[in-house]
């Protein structure tokens, strides 16, 4: 089980790096979906006897459903509606953002040991993975122009938070977890509608054009 | 017997210093017969080099570093010299490159033609050489500082050789300013050290504790003062201009060996301390890596042959610093293998860089001498007109790119090996595993240097000439070719037989780190057996290559034709890839570090008459950062000063105020 969890964590980080390098939004959405589905495995892989199996199963199923299927489908829909398929000119280029991502991964591994977090015995890779995923999400939000890519950044950010959640899921009641997932779902839903409207109004998804609204 | 000979070593070295310092003066005595005068000076410098190298060899053979001291009238100072392994290894390039340079100068900078200007150059050339040698053997901080100052001023005067040229004036001024700042730091450094040790003798300073505020301050001062001389990024700003403005054999001296005194100083001062903290090594390593990568990046962006070579010095000093940083980390961690590999790589690269950089500057000098231009994009096709120079330059180009089987590879291999061995550190936390990143950095630097020298060699020697300048190319006289051939031979010899230099490097590492010889014996033996295998592979490489070439000579008869132009029937020389466009892909990668200036006249209309495109990449530190900042500082100072000095009364008032203030301070304190 621990070896499998190893693989999941490593794949999650690799997918982070892939995301930073991909300019095709469709590929990026699929990558986020894949990452979400992988994360859904985590509660099952890290389960110990003292956990409540019902809680774990619900968490995994909910995450798989929301992160792996519902949200990506919605994103694909938004992308189609907005007729954008590529992030052409990111604010930070693909190579620099990949290098920044790599630096972030390095620092997460360096600092993970220094953070006063509960449950380091759970899995050595858990905290670094969570930190690097959060960092990747932030990087995507900051460095991309297209609204779809930015929403993807938020999703990755949430994936990182989810990994942290697994760390402390002993203390987290299932309702809170479900609430977070639902929040996310609603947020993406709203973003989808907003994207649709931005696109209709400006015939572009460049969020920098939103500054024209201030007048 | 050997002990007696070893005792002669410092005396020989001092004789070399005196002879080198006086070499130019010999010429003055017989200046009525200029050819004889220059020949005498050159012979004296060569003899000095022979004496100095004999001294270095004897010192390396001696069981303990030989030393010699005289009473000296300078208060607090002693005239003491000492040749340990480090000094001896630095003496080789420091004396041989100027000696070869003076041979090269016989026809490159001939006294019969240039008269007084050549006499002045010869005087300064000898004096600078002597002071560099003295810097490396000085065993007393006062003597070191005096020699250092003479060297700095000599360098300034050498840069100013072509003193009418505005370029040389500006470069020399920047050099002088930076040399003064560096000297200031060094005076402070040695005052601190002397205070801590209670004496100005280097021997008394050895063994100071590596922890504490004093050690930290000394290290930072050394990094600043010596880094400025060595040209570590971002303290390299004076270097490209100075080395490009001087005549080529002076550039070879400045770029090939004068920089190395900075490295020597840094190594010498760090050797005083017991167990320096890991942070020192890390700082030197990072500074070296930054210098190496950005140095070669700036070199790629240059269009001027000599400026390009000067930036490569920044790169190579970076590689040396990386080796030194790894050796410092090794001392901090108590790892003899790391100390040996890092320091051996660094010191060997000092020697190697002197050899190939001098070779390249001599080659560049031959090209500039014949064609009258330093612009890469005006040259081309010179391999047909000057085949010997081209072949020798190619050896230097391959060596500086770190390609086997030449010497540049050997030293970079040692540094890379040191970097990789940090990854196995399993001592107490925190591990210095970051050092391993130096290995891919070295690979990046090597590949970029190879790209840059493919550009240089391609643009200057290959293809067809791009202008009338290129058509003037002609082989230089023999006295200019022989020094180049000697240096190329040295490059090949060290590359093919790296095992031969390892004992000397082991000695330097032992003297520098003061580790017992037994601790270094293991790593040294390992390196020796590896070096033998490097020689073996190099031999196979040469045999296969020569065999294939020989076999090709007997092959079917060759036909000649035009270069295939993909169906285009009338190619011109202007259609070739220029140096600038060759490097374009790589230069844009480093766009974040450059502030290129471009002048574009776009083509207009259906039949455009003229269009132009001109770019240059100024030095980011000097031209973009320092110069504008200092200009505005000068302007502000001008505003402040104007009202104060415009009237005598104000000046008097200032004087009175200062006096009163001083008195008040004395009374109150």
């Amino acid at each position: 089980m621990a070896r499998l969890a190893d693989m999941v964590f490593i794949l999650v980080v690799v997918l982070d790096l892939v995301l930073l390098a991909s300019s095709r939004l469709k590929v990026a959405i699929r990558t986020v979906a894949g990452q979400g589905a992988l994360l859904a495995l985590l509660p099952v892989l890290l389960v110990t006897d003292e956990h409540d199996w019902g809680h774990v199963a619900a968490l995994a199923a909910g995450a798989l459903l929301v992160k792996g299927f519902a949200i990506p489908r919605m994103m694909l829909w938004a992308m189609r509606e907005a007729a954008v398929s590529r992030e052409l000119e990111p604010i930070v280029g693909f190579v620099p953002s990949m290098l920044l991502g790599a630096v972030g991964v390095l620092l997460s591994f360096v600092f993970a040991g220094a953070l006063p977090l509960p449950g380091p015995e759970k899995h050595a890779l858990l905290v670094p993975t969570a930190l690097s995923t959060v960092w990747t999400g932030l990087l995507l939000v900051v460095s991309r122009r297209k609204a779809v890519a930015q929403v993807l950044g938020f999703l990755v950010l949430e994936n990182g938070v989810f990994v942290f959640g697994v760390l402390i899921s002993d203390f987290m009641p299932v309702m809170v977890e479900a609430g977070v997932l639902l929040d996310l779902f609603a947020a993406v839903f709203v973003m989808g509608i907003v994207i649709f409207h931005i696109n209709r109004e400006f015939s572009s998804l460049d969020t920098e054009k939103l500054s024209a609204l201030k007048d | 017997m050997t002990i007696l000979l070893a005792a002669a070593s410092p005396a020989l070295a001092l004789a070399a210093v005196v002879l080198a310092a006086g070499s130019g003066a010999l010429g003055v005595a017989v200046r009525r017969r200029p050819a004889l005068a220059q020949g005498l000076a050159c012979a004296a410098l060569c003899l000095a080099a022979a004496l100095g190298i004999a001294a270095a060899v004897l010192a390396l053979l001696a069981p303990a570093p030989p030393a010699l001291a005289f009473p000296w009238s300078v208060p607090g100072g002693r005239f003491a010299v000492r040749l340990d392994g480090l000094s001896a290894l630095f003496l080789f390039p420091i004396l041989s490159v100027p000696a070869l340079g003076s041979v090269y100068g016989l026809r490159y900078w001939p006294q019969p033609v240039l008269g007084a200007r050549a006499v002045r150059l010869q005087l300064l050339y000898g004096l600078t050489t002597a002071s560099m040698a003295l810097v490396c053997i000085a065993d007393d901080s006062i003597l070191f500082l005096v020699a250092w100052e003479v060297m700095a001023l000599g360098g300034f005067a050498l840069v100013l050789t072509e003193h009418e040229a505005a370029e040389a004036q500006r470069a020399a001024f920047v050099y002088l300013a930076s040399a003064h700042v560096g000297s200031l730091a060094l005076v402070a450094l040695f005052v601190l050290l002397g205070h801590a040790a209670g004496s100005s003798a280097f021997g008394a300073m050895a063994g100071l504790p590596g922890r504490g505020a004093l050690a930290g301050a000394v290290f930072l001062l050394a990094l600043g003062g010596f880094g400025l001389k060595a040209g570590l990024m971002p303290l390299h700003f004076w270097l490209p201009g100075a080395h490009a403005a001087a005549p080529s054999h002076v550039s070879a001296l400045l770029s090939g060996v004068l920089l190395k005194t900075g490295i020597y100083g840094l190594l010498r001062v760090t050797s005083f301390f017991e167990a320096p903290p890991v942070a020192w090594g890390a700082i030197v390593l990072v500074a070296g890596a930054v210098s190496a990568v950005l140095g070669v990046a700036f070199a790629l962006a240059q269009h001027d042959l000599k400026r390009l070579l000067a930036y490569h010095s920044v790169e190579n000093v970076g590689i040396i610093a990386m080796g030194a940083g790894l050796a410092l980390v090794g001392r901090a961690r108590g790892e003899p293998a790391l100390v040996f590999l890092g320091l051996a790589g660094a010191v060997l690269h000092v020697v190697n860089h002197a050899a190939f950089k001098a070779l390249l500057f001599f080659g560049a000098g031959a090209v500039v001498h014949a064609t009258g231009t330093r612009k890469l994009d005006l040259l081309g096709g010179l391999a047909k007109r000057m085949p010997v120079t081209a072949a020798l330059f190619l050896v230097g180009a391959a060596a500086i790119s770190g390609l086997p089987p030449l010497n540049g590879f050997v030293s970079e291999w040692l540094v890379a090996l040191a970097a990789v061995s940090t990854v196995f550190d399993r001592g107490p936390m925190p591990h210095p595993h970051f050092g391993v990143l130096a290995a891919p950095v070295l690979a990046l630097v090597g590949a970029l240097a190879a790209a840059c020298f493919a550009k240089v060699f391609g643009a200057v020697f290959l293809g067809t000439g791009r202008s009338a300048h290129a058509a003037r190319g002609a082989e230089p006289p023999r006295s200019m070719r022989v020094p180049m051939a000697a240096l190329a031979l040295a490059c090949a010899a060290i590359g093919l037989f790296p095992g031969a230099v390892l004992p000397a490097l082991t000695r330097a590492a032992a003297d520098w780190s003061r580790l017992p010889a037994a601790a270094l014996a293991g790593p040294a033996a390992g390196a020796a057996s590896s070096a033998a295998r490097v020689s073996l592979v190099a031999a196979v490489l040469l045999a296969v290559a020569l065999g294939l070439v020989a076999w090709r000579r007997r092959g079917p008869v060759a036909a000649e034709a035009e270069t295939w132009g993909c169906g285009y029937a009338r190619p011109t020389a202007r259609m070739q890839v220029t140096g600038s466009s060759f490097a374009e892909t790589l230069v844009v990668r480093f766009g974040w570090a450059f502030f290129p200036r471009a002048r574009v006249v776009p083509p207009r209309g259906l039949f455009p008459r003229r269009a132009a495109f001109h770019t240059s990449v100024p030095d980011t530190v000097l031209d973009v950062g320092l110069s504008p900042a200092l200009r505005s500082a000068a302007r502000i100072a001008g505003w402040v000063r104007a009202p104060l000095v415009s009237r005598v009364q104000f000046q008097a008032l200032l004087l009175v105020a200062a006096l009163v203030g001083l008195l008040a301070w004395f009374v109150l304190a």
Partner: protein
Amino acid sequence: MLLAAVQLIAFLALPPLLVGVVQRVKALFAGRAGPPLLQPYWDLARLLRKGTVYSRTTTEVFRAGPAVGLAAVVAAGLLMSFGGSPAAVSFGGDFVLFAGLLGLARFATALAALDTGSSFEGMGAAREVSFASLAEPALLLCLVVTARATGALSLSQMLGESLGGAWRSDGPALLLTAAALFVVALAENARIPVDDPSTHLELTMIHEVMVLDHSGPDLAFILYGAALKLFLFGALVVRLALGFHFPGPWTAFAAFLAAMLGFAAAVGAVESTMARLRMSRVPQLLVGASVLSGFALVLLLR
């Protein structure tokens, strides 16, 4: 001793077959029968018998370039372990010499290309050295990861017995490294998605465009050298990806040769199913390989 000799002979004899397999796989993907597997040998034999045409622009650099390039790759072969048994020559840090020799081959080829004065070949040389400057750090990072995982400093030991133990403890990191190395291998050997070895449209090529003016035996040297280089990288990738321990060196060697066929098939499959990347995207791919191997290093040093 016998095994070492057999391996060296295999290294010198088999690479053109590897190219033949790649071509056959590509043909199968395209629904063609494809050339015979031994066609590369016939091509080399034909070229060796031909005369040479030299451009009037060129000098000795152009004539020596292919010979030096081939000699460097052959010398690099002395250092490579084929299938886990020791190489002909091995010492601590030989992988730096390995990378250096490949760099020498590249330098010789690029200079020969510049010697023709052709704008196309100059462009190809510029691309080659630019992309190599990103591929070399990636290669070295991969080798450093392997060194750390196996605790060894020579190629023979890194790819030898200790690799099996390293696979058991650090499998994921080595897998990432093998993937990164495969990307580097594709780039260094002028394969899709970095370069297209079968096109002859000058503007889109890297390696092929550099050798436009070479003919006869010179071209044979270059083609043979390219095949040797592919074999070398294949040996590295295959051994890293399948770090098993085999009973007996001869079975290991046989398994290695079989795996090399698999490598050739993989290269052919990549070439058939992927499009060549735009030039501006190539650095991204190579930096990606560096980042991947860097991540593997972080995993090991954790």
